[in-house]
Amino acid sequence: MRTTLQAEEEKQKKTGRDLTRPLFAGGLVALLFVAVVSAMVFGAVSIGFWNVFIILVEALPFSFTFAGVEIATVYEDIILQIRLPRVLLAAAVGSSLAVAGATFQGLFRNPMADPYVIGISSGSALGAVFAMLSGYSLAVGGFGAVPLFAFGGGIATIIIVYNMARVGQTVPVMTLLLAGIAISSFLSALVSLLTYFADEKLHMVVFWMMGGLGGATWQQVQVMVPYALIGYILVSVFSRELNAMLLGEETASHLGVNTERVKKILLVGASLLVAAAVSTSGIIGFVGLVVPHFVRLVAGPDHRFLLPASALLGGSLLIATDTVARVIIAPSELPVGIITALIGAPMFVYLLKKRKKLRYFGGGG
């Protein structure tokens, strides 16, 4: 009798605890929906919700036309050629940054880590600025020199950092972090040096570095999304290992995690995410730092939930902030990085104050 009672109690406790995650996940999906809808509706030209709905449904390949509904082709073009790719790109970039941030924070066991912590952003920036200043007109698959160089710069940087940090067969995460910071400052100095001689292209360089999704095309979406998907799958397949790594490399290895291999895979996955994001949209700050923290505060540090939830929240957040960036001084637009920091920072501070401490990382105790 007592055991059944206990089991019952245990079950209740379990369901009580497990409810947080489904509720939170539901909330995130709803948020994404709201963000997408608002992004379609608002803009320099406001398009009604029903019109958006009809345009989208009619655009589906197997779909039908709504009889008696006439929508101006301009609206159709705005929705299908401008806003839809931009929303999808924002979603891909936002979730890539958030997932990469979560991965780096877990891997380095450091709450300060963000997607750019080991220098991918500086490497990409150097590549991008170099491409802008040299005026290369090279184009591969319809892509200009800037994204190509940015992507290459980011990936090259991570390879250099990884090899610098290697001690024999192992790569201690702390060395990796320090090597990343060193390389990052060095590359940033080079970027500043190039920027100093940028003359009339200065505006372009500064704008790129602030980050933005202006001029998003379907082609960008087509290239960005596969990278983001590959990176996301690589990282999330190893989320149980990432949990173990959070207890320290030695403990993870005692539990049967092949730490060196896992580190390498996680680095490759996260780097792909970041390089793809940076090369399409420049350096958008704050999403990758704040989103994973937010999810941890609500739902705990388990990466099996943290990674997908961060992806959802990061995507929604960037769609929403990008919409604000487009609308706030329409028809002109602000760099979205400014908005993410302006909205994200106070929100995060509020959370910190409310929860008092970040229990899941050092110093929280």
Partner: protein, 425 residues
């Protein structure tokens, strides 16, 4: 069912600084082994080699005859669990999550935890007594609770070997023996081979039955407590003089480091003190003077006396009177000599019988020679006087110049070079 571990010719150096030098040892399946040795002797390094954190420069580690390297990470994690000295766990995982991680080596990449895994987690938590903490965050636990959770995780790995690297170093005495008791229970009930690096030899002898003593990266001795824990081995490996003895209460072999103040180790400026007599009653005086760094001599005492044991343990000069005999001329001369060699003489509040009344004559002699004499607690002398004459003799000494102190603590003011300062009140 336990696995045996063989270590052959292990060598390891950190930056040309050798840590392990040709380490050889064998742990039989089902052994319960304590790895002893001074700081830097290589205990942790050896365990880290066995648990595959460090790769040795040369040598072999065999598990049941198979090279360690042959096993995959998950395979070795199914055989071997490790409890480290301390786990930094300041994130929000629940205790249950942490224990569940012990199932990692059994789960395929896309496999979910089954009811069986959850049952093992529950049993592990019950065994280590952390079931009531299941929902709590590991970050909010005390050191002792956390260590038991880590132990539960290790149990949950269903290992054949458990390695513990100074698991009790940060725990209070209650948790220390609880944790080691758990390890020996696992050994008894599930025949798990246990190897634990332990600092505290006196703790280790309670819980383990085989001992391996490391010194300078080599195995210096291995075997039962009596074979390994000897004053010579302790002196060689830890570099301190030590005595071993059977504990008077539980009879287990114990080690104590000798801290006697002979000429060269005495605190600078502290006087040499002779303490009259022995017995339990003299111990507070002896202990206090020893702590204050005084160079001591003791006597006369009888051979079974605690004062005598104290003197022998600290290698102090002592006048010993064999049991059932009384002082003779030789003892008297010896006693006078010890008193003459010291700067002052103390008579602690010891019991007096007919037998030790002659002491007073000797003290009187020395008093006449100008040696300062201190009597502690003259007031209570009747309670411990079996001759009926002690007060008379003591008061005579006082008249001749001996000084009376109310409490043992008053000695501090006397023997401190600066005159005792603040607490000499």
């Amino acid at each position: 069912m336990g696995i045996d571990i063989e270590v052959h010719g292990l060598k390891l150096a950190y930056d040309a600084e050798p840590v392990l030098e040709d380490t050889n040892f064998k742990v039989e399946r089902g052994d319960l082994v304590a790895l002893l040795g001074a700081n830097g002797a290589g205990k942790s390094t050896l365990l880290r080699c066995i648990s595959r954190i460090i790769k040795p420069n040369s040598g072999q580690i065999l598990l049941d005859g198979d090279e360690l390297e042959k096993f995959s990470s998950k395979e070795s994690a199914r055989m071997m669990a490790v409890v480290p000295q301390e786990t930094t766990a300041d994130f929000d995982f629940s205790v249950e999550d942490i224990v569940m991680m012990g199932r990692f080596p059994y789960l395929g990449r896309f496999q979910k935890e089954t009811q069986k895994d959850r049952d093992i987690v529950r049993r592990s938590m019950e065994m280590t007594g952390v079931s009531h903490l299941a929902e709590r965050s590991i970050a909010n636990l005390s050191g002792g609770e956390k260590q038991r959770v880590i132990m539960a995780r290790a149990v949950c790995q269903e290992p054949e070997i458990m390695l513990l690297d100074e698991p009790t170093a940060n725990l209070d005495i209650g948790y220390q023996s609880m944790l080691l008791e758990l390890a020996s229970r696992l050994n008894r009930e599930q025949k798990v081979t246990v190897v634990a690096a332990i600092h505290d030899i006196n703790l280790a002898v309670h819980h383990f039955n085989r001992f391996v003593l490391l010194a300078g990266g080599r195995v210096m001795a291995a075997g039962r407590a009596e074979e390994v824990i000897t004053p010579e081995n302790i002196k060689k490996s830890y570099g301190v003089p030590a005595s071993t003895y059977r504990h008077p209460l539980h009879g287990v072999l114990q080690v104590s480091v000798v801290k006697g103040n002979t000429g060269d180790t005495a605190a600078e400026g502290s006087p040499a003190v002779h303490v009259i007599g022995g017995g339990e009653e003299a111990m507070p005086t002896l202990e206090l003077l020893n702590q204050e760094g005084c160079c001591l001599s003791v006597g006369p005492v009888s051979a079974q006396d605690s004062g005598c044991r104290f003197a022998h343990f600290h290698s102090l000069p002592v006048v010993v009177v064999p049991p059932f005999t009384s002082m003779n001329g030789v003892h008297k001369e010896e006693h006078l000599q010890l008193m003459r060699n010291s700067d002052l003489v103390v008579i602690p509040p010891i019991p007096f019988g007919e037998g030790n009344l002659p002491i007073f004559e000797e003290v009187e002699t020395i008093l006449k020679e100008g040696k300062p004499v201190y009597i502690i607690d003259l007031e209570s002398v009747e309670e411990r006087d079996y001759s009926g004459k002690a007060r008379q003799f003591l008061e005579k000494l006082v008249r001749k110049g001996a000084v009376v102190l109310d409490r043992v603590d008053d000695l501090k003011a006397l023997v401190r070079p600066d005159g005792g300062g603040k607490d000499g009140s």
